[in-house]
């Protein structure tokens, strides 16, 4: 290993990825990766640049030679002063974190302002611009399940995926998200600490993909160390958030070819869960009943909320629903699910036909039967 490092150190001195681009020698910049692009953007040939394509081990001889031929040495690197500290250790005088920030990404304006005092001017409006956070798609299978959790005032320990958007208003049905798989382990811990009270209202929600990645270990913990926890697997039969990759539960590999398919129900049973229930998240009454039963049960349970992601090509959608304005009383019950296809105009609910896929979740919320299925085209 030591010998290898010595060879690498020597290689760094001659490697073509470490190169000097001579320009004006008043300023010499040592930089790497995207900071190089920003540096060139700001200075062009107005400075000399030592571009490091390999930052460990550093090419000491090249750095010393470069420093000897420029008037002022600057290190432009994001985050911690790694290259800068190495330069100082070599006895070189450098400008670095005294001028540039230690946190966040750089940009050309940031570098220009810090080192030249100038940056492009910009204008903005003085009226507030409402934010546009991402929302679950119209017809997303996660929506009905989160509505049910919110309605039952559950404490929801979340995980990473499209369903993390369950945290956003108006659903606001998630109290915690940490990292992939944490929901299940956290649930066990919460329930150990909180006892029966916690067990009766706390759930973990985790996507099928995240469950395969790191949810199973937590589930084994629940089965082995015994809490009456309720874990909800949101099985939309794909990895939604990152752009529709297959996963071990879908029956296809990353290339889309047939592959082994893990049966979630069988897996949970094999891990010791006797209570494994499957619900359709478009069916609010069923979701409500099953969640209530499993929270009350004095045994650990898994609820699989199963319906494919609304954006999958093979999913057939119904025609958009329609609001009968004579029946709508403007009570906003249907607004509680945070569907981007529903809004209120002049005190009545209106449906955006370009977005609505006729999932029917909203229709189950209207006490006045204002929703009608339209004769529009199926999608």
């Amino acid at each position: 290993m030591e010998e290898r490092t010595a060879r690498l150190t020597e290689y760094a001195e001659t490697a073509p990825v470490n190169r000097i681009e001579w320009g004006d020698r008043k300023i010499g910049v040592i930089t790497s990766s995207t900071s190089y692009q920003y540096t060139k953007e700001v200075f062009g040939d107005g400075c000399s640049v030592l571009k490091l394509g390999m930052v460990n081990p550093l090419p000491v001889r090249i750095i010393k030679e470069f420093a000897a031929h420029v008037e002022k040495l600057v290190v432009i690197e994001e985050l911690d002063p790694i290259i800068e500290n190495h330069c100082r250790a070599l006895g070189l005088e450098v400008t670095g974190k005294d001028a540039l920030p230690m946190i966040d990404e750089f940009s050309q304006n940031l570098i220009a302002k810090a080192l030249t005092g100038k940056a492009a001017e910009s204008v903005s409006l003085d009226c507030p611009i409402p934010p546009r956070p991402p929302v679950m798609c119209a017809g997303c299978p996660h929506r009905g399940l989160f509505y049910t959790l919110a309605k039952n005032k559950c404490t929801v320990l979340g995980d990473i995926g499209c369903y993390t958007l369950g945290a956003v208003a108006p659903l606001s049905a998630m109290e915690m998200t940490l990292c992939m798989g944490a929901s299940v382990s956290a649930l066990h811990g919460f329930n150990k600490a909180g006892g029966r009270d916690a067990e009766q209202k706390t759930v973990a929600v985790i996507g099928d993909s995240t469950f395969m990645h790191s949810g199973m270990t937590g589930l084994a913990n629940i089965a082995y160390n015994q809490t009456n926890s309720t874990v909800i697997i949101l099985d939309n039969s794909i990895t939604g958030m990152t752009g529709h990759q297959q996963n071990p539960t879908t029956g296809f590999n990353l290339r889309g070819d047939p592959a082994g398919k893990i049966d979630l129900e069988a897996l949970c049973r094999a891990m010791g869960f006797e209570r494994v229930r499957v619900v359709d998240p478009y069916d609010l009454r069923q979701c409500d009943a099953v969640i209530k039963e499993e929270l009350a049960a004095e045994a650990p349970s898994v609820i699989i909320s199963r319906r494919p992601c609304a954006l999958l090509k093979y999913v057939k959608h119904k025609a958009p629903v329609r609001v009968n304005p004579d029946k709508c009383r403007g009570c906003k019950s249907c607004m509680r699910i945070g569907c981007p296809a529903i809004s209120m105009k002049n005190g009545k609910a209106v449906i955006d036909n370009t977005l609505c896929v006729g999932c029917g979740v909203c229709t189950q919320l209207c006490a006045f039967g204002a929703f009608e299925s339209s004769d529009g085209e199926e999608k």
């Binding site: 940009s107 409402p130 529903i342």
Partner: protein
């Protein structure tokens, strides 16, 4: 030539990625050094999205910073206003006039600001606003808003009509080509300010 900057902004799901791909293709065909950076969001629809297109003799940074955009091409009027601080002094905003309510507006937690075209003009931007959705529907699909916008944008470029047409042919799926060519023509015929 100094590097020129175009920002394409809109709401997730409106087709801004195809627009940036087409623009990148066109600019490459004109012999420029081009960098296109898509800020890939999540699969879900509905968030604010932005793509940077930079071209010139030699392009370094892949992103556009505050006050640097020569053009902001916007699929939705609130998004044009959101990204306005990125516009260069005297820069042009080519925008669809369509309004899409974001969730805080839908839930009533925020208000959709009125008179945005006038406000942006007063702030010094040249605003070229057009009802692209109506023209896209006229061409045959609400999804062609992106191509209507590019037709409108083409007025600001030297590239010949044939170059735009061959980029359309190269990027748009064959099945939708005729419809998109119509959308481009409608956007272009609407003229520039």
């Amino acid at each position: 030539m100094e590097t020129k900057n175009i920002m394409i902004v809109g709401v997730g799901g409106q087709g801004s990625l195809l627009a940036s791909k087409l623009l990148g293709h066109l600019l490459l065909s004109q012999g420029y050094d081009v960098k296109v950076s898509e800020v890939h969001g999540m699969s879900q629809r509905g968030g604010s999205v932005v793509t940077y297109v930079r071209y010139g003799d030699k392009v370094y940074s892949p992103v556009i910073d505050l006050g640097e955009a020569d053009y902001i091409v916007s699929f939705e009027i609130l998004e044009a206003a959101r990204w306005l601080p990125y516009l260069k002094k005297g820069g042009v905003i080519v925008t669809n006039t369509q309004q899409i309510d974001p969730m805080p507006v839908i839930t009533g937690a925020a208000e959709y600001p009125a008179g945005l075209v006038e406000k942006m003009t007063a702030a010094g931007a040249k605003v070229d606003a057009l009802d692209c959705l109506a023209l896209a529907e006229q061409a045959g699909s609400a999804k062609a808003v992106n191509i209507v916008l590019l037709g409108r944008l083409s007025h600001y470029f030297d590239a010949p009509e044939e170059a735009w047409q061959s980029s359309l042919e190269a990027i748009v799926p064959a099945k939708f080509l005729e419809m998109n060519k119509k959308a481009f023509a409608l956007g272009k015929a609407a003229g520039a300010i």
